[in-house]
Amino acid sequence: MADEFILRMANITKTFPGVVALDDVKLDVRAGTVHALMGENGAGKSTLMKVLIGMYQKDSGTVTLEGREVEVHDTKGGLNLGISMIHQELSPVPEMTVAENIYLGREPLNRFKLVDKALMRRMAQELFDEWNIPLNPGMQMKALTVASMQLVEIAKAISYDAKVIIMDEPTSAITEREVDLLFAMIRRLRDRGTAIIYISHKMDEIFQIADEVTIFRDGQWVLTQSTAEMTQQSLITAMVGRELTQMFPKEHAEIGEVLLEVKNLNRGRLVKDVSFTLRRGEILGLAGLVGAGRTEVLETIFGVHRAESGEILVDGKPVQIKQPKDAINAGMALLTEDRRATGIMGVLSVRDNMLAAALRRYSPGGFVDAKRLEEAAEEQRKALAIKTPSLDQLIKNLSGGNQQKVLVSRWLLTLPDILMIDEPTRGIDVGAKSEIHRLISTMAKEGKAILMVSSEMPEILGMSDRVLVMHEGEVTGEVPRAEATQDKIMQLATGTEAAA
């Protein structure tokens, strides 16, 4: 029987200073199957994969590939063994072209041992043609949208002709259409005999694409089972170790007067004449395909970018917002989309990260009140159940979900009236996700106004009182909760239906 497993990892242990990331875990993957690896944030999924490709060195355990025990010392070794990986964190080289990014580390050479750029471009074009990837190999990486960059990463992983392809949350930055494209690729690869290890926090994807599931909890192996034998509920229970009763715990909130009004906002090609209102107690969902300009709208309102024209009224009064500080003073908060680029301050402590935006409140006369600050941070840690050994811990050592919670608390501490959240649960496990949803719901109940961008349809449908849909920088429609369906929203998002 052992032979049918192309990859066997056994008794793998990996520790970081103060953290046992993997505790004697195993993973057996069959050729020609899609094997899902599931678990809460910080369960150790990415760590195991990094051990497999040679980015991390395991403390103990064995890796057997096609029946042979192997040792991988660096990523080059992993690639040489036929293991490639789509990393959880996008890592483009912005100044290089798409083709150069794909063939980085194995550029084709001409007979003078010089890099053959023309050939490289042709190879990339052939790759794109073969897999129906709608990209131009000559474009500079920095000119691409996030979704296109993710496609490049996918194309790159495939281009190695690997026996095992690891996909660590490949769909966290793309929407339905790219997901469909990706799944088509995965099926073709699987049919060719490639083994895919698929990591995701999105339940529906698992049941769509995976043959088998392995679940980790707190660095330990819990179970491996065929997806056919599982239900969504049993999967969640296995992951979080308890029953999770309600996926979208939206409570009823009293919808009050208009708090935020945006009139004819314009900025570049991604914000075109955007107008809408937002009321107290309301959760306004902002839907659209990736690249529709939702992030741009939020960032423009918040003063991250200067608006070219338009008016913003808070409580009926016009406000001038030139920089984020002005927005914060007007009672707004913005939980940004890209946690790494605009969220966490990696080498700073959890405490410092929490208090970055609200420091003014805790520093009368410019001097910080350490005691009050400590109390506030501790309160947030308890309230949001943030998993960290101490408030002194560097945030970069926290799992993604817990980093996100720290960022949420950063904004809660500013006591905002208007909370704008951009993909609030991206890359977050089901448990933490429902906690964040509960939090959003509570805040709405407290009379705050919430503007939520999400690319996850269930989240939009489950949480919003009203859904605003964008397409190419324009608002193409507005759907009340009662009428909101996936089809309706997709039509508006793809621009196939005129504005409602």
């Binding site: 103060g18 920089q323 500080k325 680029a341 990696g346 410019g366």
Partner: protein, 338 residues
């Protein structure tokens, strides 16, 4: 909720970390390095190094480096660098001295002018603050890399100091002015006193004020800091004005110490200041650094300079040894992060 079970389980580890000897030793490794160096030099010099007067000399001699390093910590935390501090020292020194000349000086810069010493001091500080402001302005408004903006100031500022003083030292200064560099208060030499005061102020600023916390936030992630409502430009401008003012103070101390405003003062000082700061644990990757660390770094540099002189190491070999010790200190200190 599953997550709540974790909190109590992990709370003790947080307390434990506070009293963890290994962690303590790691954090203060650089202090151990300094102590090791002191012991080594004491043995090698048959005890001459550890004599009180010699130790006072060491501290007095690094006070200028230490004063500026306290500002360099802020600069490097925000991923900046200031190469111009040596030239700012020179500008402040010649301006300060020119306003503090006695009437019987051979060459008088401003004949007939007789202002209180405090005016000379304020002028020197203002020159420093002004130069720092120009640096900060170029960096924040024109988005020039700090290395280049301050390289320009380093070159132009040195030239300005030469022009102002016509290349000649400005000498014969009032006693009140010289006191800043040569006097004592309650038995403590004034430069050491000023060094201590600057360290104290800078520590409070960095750790206990909003300005300091913003400094760390910017170094941790400038984009995130901006979104968090921090006015990046203003904080950075403040930082360069601060280090400029400190360099101005150092210029006053140095010129008062030698009793003459010399336009060559501070040549190459920036490298010692940066070395002291980095030896003290401030990271070029941003977001990390402490004032006390830079004090330790300055003392290490001062001990090396003093010890090598005491040991009669030839000047050429001194350079080699100094280069090696700086690198070795950093290597040892870096390894604590492994």
């Amino acid at each position: 909720m599953s997550t709540t079970t974790n909190a109590p389980a992990e709370a003790p580890s947080s307390t434990a970390a506070r009293f963890n000897l290994g962690a303590f030793a790691k954090k203060y490794l650089i202090v151990l390095i300094l102590i090791g160096l002191v012991i080594l030099l004491t043995i090698l010099t048959d005890g001459a190094f550890i004599k009180t007067q010699n130790l006072i000399n060491v501290i007095r001699q690094v006070s200028a480096i230490g004063i500026i390093a306290a500002g360099m910590v802020f600069v490097i935390i925000t991923l900046g660098i200031d190469l111009s501090v040596g030239s700012i020292v020179a500008m402040s020194a010649v301006v300060g001295a020119s306003l503090a000349q006695t009437a019987d000086a051979a060459v008088i810069k401003f004949p007939g002018l007789d202002v209180p010493v405090i005016v000379a001091v304020l002028a020197g500080l203002a020159v420093g603050a002004g130069a720092g402001f120009v640096n900060g302005f170029l960096i924040t408004k024109f988005k020039i890399a700090p290395f280049i903006a301050t390289l320009g100031m380093m070159t132009a500022g040195r030239g300005a100091a030469y022009i102002f003083s016509n290349g000649r030292p400005i000498s014969t200064l009032k006693d009140g002015y010289n006191w800043i560099g040569q006097g004592s208060l309650l038995g403590v030499p004034v430069p050491i006193l000023l060094f201590a005061i600057v360290v104290l102020i800078a520590s409070v600023m960095l750790n206990r004020t909003r300005f300091g916390r913003y400094t760390y936030a910017i170094g941790g992630n400038e984009q995130a800091a901006r979104v968090s409502g921090i006015n990046i430009d203003r904080v950075k401008l403040g930082i360069y004005v601060f280090i400029g003012t400190l360099a101005g103070l150092a210029g006053l101390v140095l010129s008062a110490r030698i009793g003459s405003g010399n336009p060559t003062l501070g040549t190459g000082l920036e490298l010692d200041v940066i070395a002291a700061t980095v030896i003290g644990g401030t990271s070029f990757a941003g977001g990390i650094g402490t004032i006390w660390g830079s004090v330790v770094g300055a003392l290490i540099i001062g001990s090396i300079n003093n010890g090598l002189d005491l040991l009669n190491v030839s000047p050429f070999w001194q350079q080699v040894v100094k280069g090696l010790i700086i690198v070795v200190a950093i290597i040892i200190d870096e390894r604590k992060n492994r």
